[in-house]
Symmetry: C2
Subunit: 147 residues, 2 copies
Protein backbone atom coordinates (compact mmCIF):
# COMPACT_ATOMS: atom_id res chain seq x y z
CA UNK A 1 0.00 0.00 0.00
CA UNK A 2 1.55 3.31 -1.11
CA UNK A 3 1.96 6.23 1.23
CA UNK A 4 -0.57 8.17 -0.73
CA UNK A 5 -3.18 5.43 -0.73
CA UNK A 6 -2.58 5.02 2.98
CA UNK A 7 -3.16 8.72 3.54
CA UNK A 8 -6.36 8.57 1.50
CA UNK A 9 -7.54 5.57 3.47
CA UNK A 10 -7.01 7.29 6.77
CA UNK A 11 -8.68 10.49 5.62
CA UNK A 12 -11.66 8.43 4.42
CA UNK A 13 -11.73 6.54 7.70
CA UNK A 14 -11.83 9.81 9.61
CA UNK A 15 -14.56 11.12 7.34
CA UNK A 16 -16.63 8.01 7.99
CA UNK A 17 -16.23 8.44 11.73
CA UNK A 18 -17.25 12.07 11.51
CA UNK A 19 -20.30 11.28 9.42
CA UNK A 20 -21.38 8.59 11.84
CA UNK A 21 -21.15 11.07 14.73
CA UNK A 22 -22.67 14.20 13.20
CA UNK A 23 -19.30 15.92 13.16
CA UNK A 24 -18.47 18.49 10.56
CA UNK A 25 -15.59 18.63 8.16
CA UNK A 26 -13.49 21.77 8.48
CA UNK A 27 -10.34 23.15 6.92
CA UNK A 28 -8.61 23.07 10.32
CA UNK A 29 -9.41 19.42 10.92
CA UNK A 30 -8.35 18.41 7.46
CA UNK A 31 -5.08 20.26 7.81
CA UNK A 32 -4.24 18.80 11.20
CA UNK A 33 -5.31 15.30 10.25
CA UNK A 34 -3.30 15.33 7.04
CA UNK A 35 -0.19 16.59 8.79
CA UNK A 36 -0.59 13.94 11.44
CA UNK A 37 -1.23 11.12 8.97
CA UNK A 38 1.85 12.12 7.00
CA UNK A 39 4.05 12.18 10.09
CA UNK A 40 5.89 8.98 10.85
CA UNK A 41 7.30 10.04 14.21
CA UNK A 42 6.02 10.38 17.73
CA UNK A 43 4.90 13.95 17.21
CA UNK A 44 3.93 16.36 19.94
CA UNK A 45 1.42 19.18 19.99
CA UNK A 46 3.95 21.93 19.44
CA UNK A 47 5.18 20.36 16.20
CA UNK A 48 1.68 19.71 14.96
CA UNK A 49 0.63 23.29 15.66
CA UNK A 50 3.68 24.77 13.94
CA UNK A 51 3.19 22.69 10.82
CA UNK A 52 -0.56 23.25 10.76
CA UNK A 53 -0.16 27.02 10.89
CA UNK A 54 2.00 26.96 7.79
CA UNK A 55 -0.91 25.49 5.85
CA UNK A 56 -3.81 27.15 7.62
CA UNK A 57 -2.87 30.25 9.55
CA UNK A 58 -4.52 31.18 12.84
CA UNK A 59 -5.23 27.65 14.01
CA UNK A 60 -5.58 27.73 17.78
CA UNK A 61 -3.88 25.21 20.00
CA UNK A 62 -7.23 24.18 21.46
CA UNK A 63 -8.25 23.04 18.00
CA UNK A 64 -5.18 20.86 17.70
CA UNK A 65 -5.88 19.31 21.08
CA UNK A 66 -9.50 18.78 20.08
CA UNK A 67 -8.59 17.26 16.73
CA UNK A 68 -6.07 14.87 18.25
CA UNK A 69 -8.66 13.79 20.77
CA UNK A 70 -10.99 13.09 17.85
CA UNK A 71 -8.32 11.07 16.07
CA UNK A 72 -7.73 9.04 19.22
CA UNK A 73 -11.44 8.38 19.66
CA UNK A 74 -11.72 7.28 16.06
CA UNK A 75 -8.83 4.89 16.59
CA UNK A 76 -6.51 6.55 14.10
CA UNK A 77 -4.05 8.03 16.60
CA UNK A 78 -2.35 6.53 19.63
CA UNK A 79 -1.28 8.83 22.47
CA UNK A 80 2.06 8.11 24.11
CA UNK A 81 3.69 9.50 27.22
CA UNK A 82 7.39 8.93 27.62
CA UNK A 83 7.79 10.67 30.91
CA UNK A 84 8.73 14.16 29.80
CA UNK A 85 5.35 15.63 30.64
CA UNK A 86 4.07 16.05 27.12
CA UNK A 87 1.84 13.77 25.12
CA UNK A 88 3.11 12.48 21.81
CA UNK A 89 0.95 11.03 19.07
CA UNK A 90 1.66 8.33 16.56
CA UNK A 91 -0.35 6.83 13.75
CA UNK A 92 -2.15 3.60 14.47
CA UNK A 93 0.56 1.16 13.35
CA UNK A 94 -0.55 -0.81 10.33
CA UNK A 95 1.63 -3.74 11.36
CA UNK A 96 0.19 -4.06 14.84
CA UNK A 97 1.19 -3.16 18.34
CA UNK A 98 4.72 -2.27 19.36
CA UNK A 99 6.63 -1.07 22.41
CA UNK A 100 9.41 1.51 22.80
CA UNK A 101 13.00 1.97 23.87
CA UNK A 102 13.90 5.56 24.71
CA UNK A 103 17.46 6.89 24.97
CA UNK A 104 17.77 8.88 28.18
CA UNK A 105 20.54 11.00 26.69
CA UNK A 106 19.46 11.92 23.13
CA UNK A 107 15.76 11.02 23.43
CA UNK A 108 15.90 8.74 20.39
CA UNK A 109 12.85 6.50 20.31
CA UNK A 110 13.11 3.02 18.82
CA UNK A 111 10.19 0.68 18.34
CA UNK A 112 10.29 -3.04 18.93
CA UNK A 113 8.06 -5.98 19.40
CA UNK A 114 8.67 -9.21 21.20
CA UNK A 115 5.86 -11.73 21.02
CA UNK A 116 7.39 -13.83 23.74
CA UNK A 117 7.11 -10.87 26.11
CA UNK A 118 3.55 -10.25 24.99
CA UNK A 119 2.62 -13.85 25.71
CA UNK A 120 4.31 -13.84 29.11
CA UNK A 121 2.42 -10.70 30.06
CA UNK A 122 -0.91 -12.41 29.44
CA UNK A 123 0.27 -15.45 31.32
CA UNK A 124 1.39 -13.38 34.33
CA UNK A 125 -1.90 -11.51 34.37
CA UNK A 126 -3.93 -14.70 34.14
CA UNK A 127 -2.17 -16.13 37.17
CA UNK A 128 -3.26 -13.04 39.10
CA UNK A 129 -6.84 -13.21 37.87
CA UNK A 130 -6.58 -10.25 35.56
CA UNK A 131 -7.84 -9.88 32.03
CA UNK A 132 -5.42 -7.61 30.15
CA UNK A 133 -6.92 -4.94 27.88
CA UNK A 134 -3.75 -3.07 27.06
CA UNK A 135 -0.28 -2.49 28.39
CA UNK A 136 2.64 -0.13 28.44
CA UNK A 137 6.21 -1.33 28.12
CA UNK A 138 8.98 1.22 27.90
CA UNK A 139 12.69 0.56 28.22
CA UNK A 140 14.91 3.48 29.13
CA UNK A 141 18.65 3.49 28.58
CA UNK A 142 21.42 4.47 26.20
CA UNK A 143 21.30 4.03 22.45
CA UNK A 144 24.38 2.83 20.57
CA UNK A 145 25.39 6.43 19.79
CA UNK A 146 25.15 7.53 23.41
CA UNK A 147 26.16 4.24 25.06
Amino acid sequence: MSNNADLENRMASLKAYMDANHLKSTAQRDTIAEIFFKSNTHINLEELLTKARKKTAKIGHATVYRTMKLLIESGLAVPRQFGDGQTRYENLPRDGHHDHIICIKCSKITEFRNDEIEALQLESAKKLGFKVINHKLELYGYCNSCG
Copy 2:
Protein backbone atom coordinates in the same frame (compact mmCIF):
# COMPACT_ATOMS: atom_id res chain seq x y z
CA MET B 1 12.76 -8.28 59.91
CA SER B 2 9.84 -6.82 61.87
CA ASN B 3 7.88 -3.87 60.63
CA ASN B 4 9.24 -1.77 63.43
CA ALA B 5 12.85 -2.69 62.79
CA ASP B 6 12.27 -1.98 59.13
CA LEU B 7 10.89 1.46 59.95
CA GLU B 8 13.88 2.18 62.18
CA ASN B 9 16.25 1.06 59.45
CA ARG B 10 14.69 3.36 56.91
CA MET B 11 14.62 6.30 59.27
CA ALA B 12 18.29 5.70 60.03
CA SER B 13 19.05 5.41 56.34
CA LEU B 14 17.36 8.73 55.71
CA LYS B 15 19.25 10.29 58.58
CA ALA B 16 22.53 9.06 57.16
CA TYR B 17 21.67 10.53 53.77
CA MET B 18 20.78 13.85 55.34
CA ASP B 19 23.97 13.96 57.38
CA ALA B 20 26.05 13.21 54.32
CA ASN B 21 24.42 16.08 52.45
CA HIS B 22 24.30 18.76 55.13
CA LEU B 23 20.52 18.49 55.36
CA LYS B 24 18.71 19.22 58.58
CA SER B 25 16.35 17.08 60.56
CA THR B 26 12.94 18.66 61.09
CA ALA B 27 9.63 17.65 62.62
CA GLN B 28 7.91 17.94 59.23
CA ARG B 29 10.38 15.65 57.50
CA ASP B 30 10.23 13.10 60.25
CA THR B 31 6.44 13.10 60.18
CA ILE B 32 6.20 12.74 56.40
CA ALA B 33 8.95 10.14 56.22
CA GLU B 34 7.44 8.04 58.98
CA ILE B 35 3.99 8.14 57.42
CA PHE B 36 5.46 7.17 54.09
CA PHE B 37 7.61 4.36 55.49
CA LYS B 38 4.60 2.95 57.31
CA SER B 39 2.44 3.00 54.21
CA ASN B 40 2.41 -0.17 52.18
CA THR B 41 0.39 1.18 49.26
CA HIS B 42 1.06 3.35 46.25
CA ILE B 43 0.28 6.56 48.08
CA ASN B 44 -0.29 9.92 46.47
CA LEU B 45 0.47 13.42 47.68
CA GLU B 46 -3.05 14.15 48.83
CA GLU B 47 -3.09 11.15 51.17
CA LEU B 48 0.36 11.91 52.52
CA LEU B 49 -0.59 15.52 53.21
CA THR B 50 -3.82 14.59 54.96
CA LYS B 51 -2.13 12.06 57.22
CA ALA B 52 0.83 14.33 57.90
CA ARG B 53 -1.41 17.18 59.02
CA LYS B 54 -3.01 14.96 61.65
CA LYS B 55 0.37 14.52 63.28
CA THR B 56 1.92 17.90 62.55
CA ALA B 57 -0.59 20.59 61.71
CA LYS B 58 0.10 23.30 59.17
CA ILE B 59 2.40 21.28 56.95
CA GLY B 60 2.41 22.84 53.50
CA HIS B 61 2.03 20.78 50.37
CA ALA B 62 5.33 22.13 49.06
CA THR B 63 7.03 20.49 52.02
CA VAL B 64 5.49 17.14 51.18
CA TYR B 65 6.65 17.45 47.57
CA ARG B 66 10.10 18.43 48.76
CA THR B 67 10.31 15.60 51.24
CA MET B 68 9.21 13.01 48.70
CA LYS B 69 11.81 14.32 46.29
CA LEU B 70 14.37 13.87 49.04
CA LEU B 71 13.22 10.32 49.70
CA ILE B 72 13.48 9.53 46.01
CA GLU B 73 16.99 10.99 45.80
CA SER B 74 18.05 8.98 48.81
CA GLY B 75 16.71 5.84 47.15
CA LEU B 76 14.05 5.14 49.77
CA ALA B 77 11.02 6.01 47.66
CA VAL B 78 10.06 5.06 44.12
CA PRO B 79 7.77 7.39 42.14
CA ARG B 80 5.12 5.75 39.98
CA GLN B 81 2.77 7.15 37.38
CA PHE B 82 -0.17 5.03 36.39
CA GLY B 83 -1.65 7.38 33.85
CA ASP B 84 -4.12 9.31 35.98
CA GLY B 85 -1.97 12.42 36.09
CA GLN B 86 -0.82 12.14 39.67
CA THR B 87 2.39 10.71 41.00
CA ARG B 88 2.19 7.91 43.50
CA TYR B 89 5.01 6.83 45.79
CA GLU B 90 5.95 3.44 47.12
CA ASN B 91 8.64 2.22 49.46
CA LEU B 92 11.76 0.79 47.89
CA PRO B 93 10.76 -2.87 47.74
CA ARG B 94 13.02 -4.99 49.91
CA ASP B 95 12.49 -8.00 47.66
CA GLY B 96 13.62 -6.22 44.52
CA HIS B 97 12.00 -4.73 41.46
CA HIS B 98 8.42 -5.44 40.45
CA ASP B 99 5.90 -4.35 37.83
CA HIS B 100 2.18 -3.58 38.08
CA ILE B 101 -1.25 -4.65 36.88
CA ILE B 102 -3.92 -1.97 37.27
CA CYS B 103 -7.66 -2.62 37.14
CA ILE B 104 -9.24 -0.06 34.82
CA LYS B 105 -12.53 -0.30 36.67
CA CYS B 106 -11.74 -0.30 40.40
CA SER B 107 -8.13 0.95 40.19
CA LYS B 108 -6.82 -1.99 42.21
CA ILE B 109 -3.07 -2.26 41.79
CA THR B 110 -1.40 -5.66 41.93
CA GLU B 111 2.33 -6.22 41.84
CA PHE B 112 4.09 -8.98 39.97
CA ARG B 113 7.47 -10.00 38.73
CA ASN B 114 8.41 -12.21 35.85
CA ASP B 115 12.11 -12.83 35.43
CA GLU B 116 11.60 -14.28 31.98
CA ILE B 117 10.10 -10.98 30.85
CA GLU B 118 12.94 -9.08 32.49
CA ALA B 119 15.50 -11.18 30.64
CA LEU B 120 13.70 -10.81 27.32
CA GLN B 121 13.65 -7.05 27.73
CA LEU B 122 17.42 -6.95 28.02
CA GLU B 123 17.74 -9.26 25.07
CA SER B 124 15.42 -7.14 22.90
CA ALA B 125 17.30 -3.99 23.83
CA LYS B 126 20.65 -5.56 23.13
CA LYS B 127 19.57 -6.49 19.62
CA LEU B 128 18.73 -2.84 19.03
CA GLY B 129 22.01 -1.57 20.43
CA PHE B 130 20.52 -0.21 23.63
CA LYS B 131 21.79 -0.54 27.16
CA VAL B 132 18.77 -0.63 29.49
CA ILE B 133 18.95 1.42 32.69
CA ASN B 134 15.37 0.99 33.81
CA HIS B 135 11.97 0.15 32.45
CA LYS B 136 8.26 0.56 32.94
CA LEU B 137 5.84 -2.29 32.46
CA GLU B 138 2.21 -1.76 33.28
CA LEU B 139 -0.68 -4.05 32.38
CA TYR B 140 -4.16 -2.55 32.33
CA GLY B 141 -7.30 -4.63 32.45
CA TYR B 142 -9.96 -6.08 34.72
CA CYS B 143 -9.27 -7.72 38.07
CA ASN B 144 -11.14 -10.86 39.07
CA SER B 145 -13.74 -8.82 40.97
CA CYS B 146 -14.43 -6.55 38.01
CA GLY B 147 -13.75 -8.94 35.17
